[in-house]
């Protein structure tokens, strides 16, 4: 990443971090309701992958989707309004945290059923190919989704038809309350897909420069129609599985260890160390992000709740 790219990625990571920390507070205050999964600690993957996509590229995500939506270009104010169930929300308050959609920015959507998003991305890739476009489809999913039958079916089909799809697995080592070792004897997702000849590999997902470089290496070939790729990003979710999860099944990371691992702190260290960024400019990223979130909270509170009848009138498209 050059200096400009680094600034953009760092700014995005701070936006995701600030957004999600505020969402956690709003959830506890019951201004955001429902089931909330935060990606704090995993922001680097969303920012480095989506930072290299075009608006025409399609992105799909799952239950832990806030970061992917923001990184693909969704407005923070409209994302927050959605989580607060308001009329100005991305989905008019119909979808909430697990079902964000922002067609305008190519965020085709999040689904709460693990693995359900993977074939959808294949479908987008098929449509883009049929339309003769050089856009790609990208799907984010967790390590838990790899054990779903849909994953195996989708990898086979994507490889067979050489679909322009980038599969991004955020391997945080846990699916809900179980470590990966309780779900599969295959530790690395890369090894699961080995026979299919997909491009890609495994990177440290909290090393944002490494994620960026890996994506930069894979995207041109996917775009050129040379076939799908799978990038496995090893990462860590700092929060529980969902907001409110007592998180008793994992060793907590110490704050010293977290400073080492935190993808934001790491990128800031790396980029100031090699002169890409000036240490003086760092506080500005966080400040700008937190200011933006506060503006989004105020805007969402101003937005009325939707007309209740909308719920029954949107059953069919017309």
């Amino acid at each position: 990443m050059d200096a400009e790219q680094t600034r953009a990625v760092l700014a995005m990571m701070w936006r995701i971090r600030a957004f999600e920390e505020r969402v956690g507070q709003l959830k506890r205050a019951d201004e955001v309701h429902g089931l909330i999964h935060l990606s704090i600690g995993q922001e680097g993957v969303a920012a480095a992958v989506c930072g290299q996509l075009r608006t025409a590229d399609a992105v799909y995500s799952g239950h832990r989707a806030h970061g992917h939506a923001l990184a693909k270009g969704a407005s923070m104010a409209r994302a927050l309004a959605e989580l607060m169930g308001r009329r100005d929300g991305l989905c008019r308050g119909m979808g909430g945290s697990m079902h964000l959609v922002d067609v305008e920015h190519g965020f085709l959507g999040a689904t709460g059923v693990v693995g359900g998003n993977i074939p959808l991305a294949l479908g987008s890739a098929l449509a883009l190919r049929a339309a003769g476009r050089d856009a790609v489809a990208v799907v984010f999913f967790g390590d838990g989704a790899v054990q779903a039958g849909l994953f195996a079916e989708s990898v086979n089909l994507a490889a067979l038809w050489r679909l322009p799809v980038l599969l991004v697995c955020e391997n945080n080592g846990f699916a809900e309350f179980s470590p990966r070792s309780a779900h599969t004897p295959v530790e690395r997702v890369r090894d699961v897909v080995a026979p299919f000849g997909l491009a890609g590999g495994t990177v440290d997902g909290n090393d944002v420069d490494a994620v960026w470089d890996a994506v930069a290496g894979l995207l041109p070939a996917v775009r050129a129609g040379e076939g799908p790729a799978l990038l496995e990003c090893l990462t860590h979710r700092l929060r529980g599985h969902y907001e409110g999860d007592p998180d008793r099944y994992r060793e907590a990371v110490s704050s010293a260890e977290w400073r080492e691992r935190d993808p934001i702190a790491r990128l800031q260290r790396a980029a100031t160390g090699d002169g890409r960024l000036d240490p003086d400019e760092l506080p500005g990223f966080e400040r700008a992000a937190r200011d933006e979130v506060e503006r989004a909270v105020l805007a969402a509170r101003e937005s009325p709740f939707p007309d209740a009848a909308l719920a029954a009138s949107l059953v069919y498209g017309r």
Partner: protein
């Protein structure tokens, strides 16, 4: 009979525990069971009988069908009813069919335990009252407990049943407390219970709408309208006889159901009573159900699509006042 107080979900787990202690063939599988060595079920019954499964519902449920064919009595904790949909073939086209297709040569004693109806901002994919998809499936039984005592008794019966049983516990009742019989407690399938007697109108409700119907009945009683509240407890088999007998006494029927209107227990009961109890009806049957829509995220919209106490009360008043038939 001595009792103790516990939660609805605690009562479910108590039944599984007692049945596992009683019968070595009972297995417990699921994505959030037995994950830790200090899990009480793992400690009591060992890792062979208590297994955490990956997010592989198709294999998980299909394997349970196979284990049942091979003589075990698996209980699969599928967490949420919607996750069963991933494995729909195994649930509605494999497990339920083997006994029948084999000319009765084999049996599939299996329980699929799943929560449903979590309308608390869980939005489109985790909130459905989707039992309508299962209640008309031949070979599959479906239980919908509404109290801790029934949660225990229906789960124990489900485990001893020789057929696949879908045991759907309501998420909004999870921590409700109530008296539960100590020791062995079996609630028979296909036997509705009258939760409150009344002579003016019959109210049928399941799961979370049972307390709603009881609250409505209390409100109506203050106005001199006595509602009889019936809880079918299992919807396959469905005890239409108890409902019909009640309608013969009251002449009026209001059906309360959280499910979408056209895939509800209400729709089935309305048809049965219209056919077999037409002569007893003094007013049209009224259904107070979820709308034929998904569950929206935002609170006002979520409330709009669901039944509530006020809607039940209004429906009963309409029925009672119909054509001046009020007695």
């Amino acid at each position: 009979m001595s009792t103790h107080e516990t939660t609805y979900i605690g009562a479910v787990m108590e039944a599984i525990d007692q049945e596992m202690a009683r019968d070595e063939r009972v297995l417990l599988l699921g994505q959030s069971v037995g994950g830790r060595p200090d899990d009480p079920f793992v400690q009591r019954y060992g890792e062979n009988r208590v297994r955490v499964t990956p997010i592989s519902e198709t294999a998980e449920i299909g394997m349970a069908v196979g284990a049942a064919l091979a003589g075990m009595r698996p209980v699969v904790d599928a967490t949420m009813a919607e996750f069963l949909l991933v494995a729909m073939d195994q649930v509605v086209n494999e497990g339920n069919r083997f006994h029948h297709m084999s000319g009765g040569r084999v049996r599939v004693p299996m329980v699929l335990k799943a929560g449903y109806g979590f309308t608390a901002g869980w939005a489109g994919q985790h909130t459905g009252s989707i039992y309508g998809m299962f209640m008309g499936v031949p070979g599959l039984k479906v239980a919908l407990p509404s109290t801790p005592a029934d949660a225990k008794g229906l789960m124990a019966t489900a485990i001893r049943d020789d057929n696949p049983v879908l045991f759907l516990h309501h998420y909004l009742l999870t921590l409700d407390r109530g008296e539960v019989p100590d020791g062995e407690h079996l609630v028979p399938f296909g036997q509705a219970v009258i939760r409150r007697p009344g002579a003016d109108v019959t109210l049928v409700a399941t799961g979370w709408t049972v307390p709603m119907a009881l609250a409505a009945a209390a409100t109506l009683a203050a106005d001199g309208i006595e509602a009889e509240v019936i809880d079918p407890r299992t919807i396959a088999p469905l005890d239409t006889a108890t409902v019909l007998a009640s309608v013969r006494r009251t002449g009026r029927l209001v059906l309360v159901d959280q499910a979408t209107r056209h895939a509800s227990v209400a729709a089935v009961l309305a048809a049965e009573v219209a056919e077999a109890g037409f002569d007893a009806l003094r007013a049209p049957i009224v259904q107070v159900t979820g709308l034929d829509a998904g569950i929206a995220y935002s609170r006002p919209m979520e409330e709009h699509v669901l039944p509530d106490e006020a809607k039940v009360v209004a429906a009963v008043r309409r029925v009672v006042e119909h054509s001046g038939t009020r007695v």
